[in-house]
Each structure stands twice: as structure tokens, then as C-alpha cells.
């Protein structure tokens, strides 16, 4: 490595620290999903079907999430209805 490479490397930045940052984000995200029960996707699908009997919605318009708070869990449903 010569002196010019040295400065170029400095400017390009340290790729290991980029790797670390990206890993921290993706790993935290995947750990969050890991603890959700297996039945959530099926639950979401059935909910969409029920709601569709009454309102025209897309699959993406229903969000289910389970949040653990101490000894109890909160099932959060978020349904976006189409514009009236």
C-alpha cells in the first residue's frame, strides 16, 4: 500500500464498520420477527377474508402485530379502509 492508497482508503471509509452497522439493523429486525407466533400470517389472511365480505380491501391493508409487554401480549390490528 502506498501513500495514495492510504488516503483513498480513508476516503472510501472502513467497510467493516459499514458491515457492522448493517448487521446490527437487520439482526435486530429479524429477532423482532422471530418471537411472533406462527399463526399470525394465517390469522391475517382470514381476517382479510372476513373484512372483504363487507369492504373491498387489499391484503396489504391489514396489519397484525403481537407485542409482548411483561406478562401480557397485545394483538394489534391495523386495517386501512379504502377512500370513501
Amino acid at each position: 500500500m502506498n501513500i495514495f492508497d492510504f488516503f483513498r482508503d480513508r476516503k472510501k471509509g472502513n467497510t467493516a464498520s459499514v458491515a457492522k452497522e448493517r448487521l446490527q439493523i437487520i439482526v435486530a429486525h429479524e429477532r423482532g420477527q422471530r418471537n411472533t407466533p406462527d399463526y399470525l400470517p394465517a390469522l391475517q389472511k382470514e381476517l382479510v377474508e372476513v373484512i372483504r365480505k363487507y369492504v373491498a380491501i387489499d391484503n396489504d391493508d391489514v396489519h397484525v402485530a403481537l407485542e409482548n409487554q411483561g406478562s401480557c401480549s397485545i394483538l394489534e390490528l391495523n386495517i386501512t379502509l379504502p377512500d370513501r
Binding site: A16, K20, R34
Partner: protein, 271 residues
């Protein structure tokens, strides 16, 4: 009652078989009766790394199917008194191993051995989940590289949820991080994740750091587990890891860039 240890990683080619052979041999060297079991059905390789490939007559699947008994299938190491290998089958039938079959074989091995080392196949399919299911401890082999670290984290999730210990609500599998193919020079240049980075992300106990080493290929070429090359950096690093596995406090070596002597600096040396 044996301690069952799975060597796992998720990602392929990171050094599980190299590690299983080294750690198993290291335990036997220290007087513990040890068997290394190859779970990589269809891609048997442990036999080559251990140098017993020409002595495989019966394998794991034969024992599960009761075509042979354990005594017939266990291959005794030629070098060490306390060391045995149970080879994987080369069958293409992916379902050759069943949970009941594996349980039966491991239970029988556990009666007779101090340590059962399970060399897991890559991936998260059946072979990998069977290899980890009955484990008491896990060695998660990781390379300092993004996809390997992510896959290791995935395996940690499976270890804590998909195992006999989890199913029975017992104490969880004890997890150890083994960082392999570590290149201190590249770490110091900021090209490779450092030990502290990987430790921080995975947050499990560090069992050891094995440097990237030419000794590993030499060892596999000749069918001698690298830990028996006690002059080599990788051999010594594995040896320390075995001591730590047995509860000894050992300082970590080979983490820093080797300082070149003035002769080497002047004339250059082959890497």
C-alpha cells in the same frame, strides 16, 4: 451420561467439519471418551478430515435402520484410544434420518461416551435441525463476514426454540461462538469484522478465534485433524478452545497482526 454438543452455522463452508474434527480430537486427547457423528447425509466428509474414509463399512443410517449395530458402525481412531467416528450415509434419501432414529442412536451413544459431537450440515433443513435437537451445548461456527453472522443469529433463534430442551422447558442449550478464518491483518485495515464486532452483534460467549491458516488445508489433505498439528496457529487456537470448553480460562491468542522480523521485512516472505 455424555454431553451432546452440536457444531452448527446455518451458512455452508464456514468450518463446521474442520471444527468438529478438531474439537472432538482435542477432547479425546485430554482423556475424554468422544465420538464425532456426521449428520451431513448425502455429503459425507468428516471421514476424510479424520482420515478414516477407507474404513467406513456401516454408517449412521444403517444403525437407524437396524441394518447394523453401533459397535459395527463406530470407527475407532487409529491415533487416539478414546476417539470414534460415526460416518454419515451417502444415500440420496433426505429422509433417511428420523427424529426417533436419531434419538435412539444418541441415547445409546450417551451411555458409553463422555462427549458426542454432532457435525451439522449447512442450512436449516431437516439434517441441521436433527443435529441440534438433542444438544446440550452448541458451538456456532461463524466467519467474520455479513452473511455468516446473520445466519449464525438465525441458528441461535432455532437453538433456543426448536430443541428437546426447549420442548421440555429445560435449561436452554448453552451457546458458544467460534469465530473461524479470522484474518487479523484485514481486520486492522478495516476490511473485515473484528472479534468485538461479532461478539457485540451475536451476544454469546466467545469460545475461541481460529485464524485463517494454511495449516487447515494441509491437515485436511493428509486426513489429520488440525489440532494434532500442535506447531500451527490454527491447531493451538483449537487447543485453547477445547480447554475453554472444559471450563479453563485461557487468554485469546492470534488476534493481532504478526509483527514481521527485520529479515522478513527486508527480503519479504511468502505468506
Amino acid at each position: 451420561m455424555a454431553k451432546i454438543i452440536v457444531v452448527t452455522s446455518g451458512k455452508g463452508g464456514v468450518g463446521k467439519t474442520t471444527t468438529s474434527a478438531a474439537i472432538g480430537t482435542g477432547l479425546a486427547l485430554r482423556g475424554h471418551k468422544t465420538v464425532i457423528v456426521d449428520f451431513d447425509v448425502g455429503l459425507r466428509n468428516l471421514d476424510l478430515i479424520m482420515g478414516c474414509e477407507r474404513r467406513v463399512v456401516y454408517d449412521f443410517v444403517n444403525v437407524v435402520n437396524e441394518e447394523a449395530n453401533l459397535q459395527q458402525a463406530l470407527i475407532k481412531d487409529k491415533r487416539l484410544e478414546n476417539l470414534y467416528v460415526l460416518a454419515a450415509s451417502q444415500t440420496r434419501d433426505k429422509d433417511a434420518l428420523t427424529q426417533d432414529g436419531v434419538e435412539k442412536v444418541l441415547t445409546e451413544l450417551a451411555k458409553d461416551f463422555d462427549f458426542v459431537i454432532c457435525d451439522s450440515p449447512a442450512g436449516i433443513e431437516k439434517g441441521a435441525s436433527l443435529a441440534m435437537y438433542f444438544a446440550d451445548e452448541a458451538i456456532v461456527v461463524t466467519n467474520p463476514e455479513v452473511s455468516s453472522v446473520r445466519d449464525s443469529d438465525r441458528m441461535l433463534g432455532l437453538l433456543s426454540s426448536k430443541s428437546r430442551r426447549a420442548a421440555n422447558n429445560e435449561e436452554p442449550i448453552k451457546e458458544h461462538l467460534l469465530l473461524t478464518r479470522y484474518n487479523p491483518e484485514r481486520v486492522s485495515k478495516g476490511e473485515m469484522l473484528g472479534v468485538e464486532d461479532v461478539e457485540e452483534i451475536l451476544a454469546i460467549r466467545l469460545l475461541g478465534v481460529i485464524p485463517e491458516s494454511t495449516a487447515v488445508l494441509k491437515a485436511s489433505n493428509s486426513g489429520v485433524p488440525v489440532i494434532l498439528d500442535d506447531q500451527s496457529d490454527a491447531g493451538q487456537a483449537y487447543s485453547d478452545a477445547v480447554d475453554r470448553l472444559l471450563g479453563k480460562e485461557m487468554p485469546h491468542r492470534f488476534l493481532d497482526v504478526k509483527k514481521k522480523g527485520w529479515m522478513e521485512r527486508l527480503f519479504g516472505g511468502r505468506e
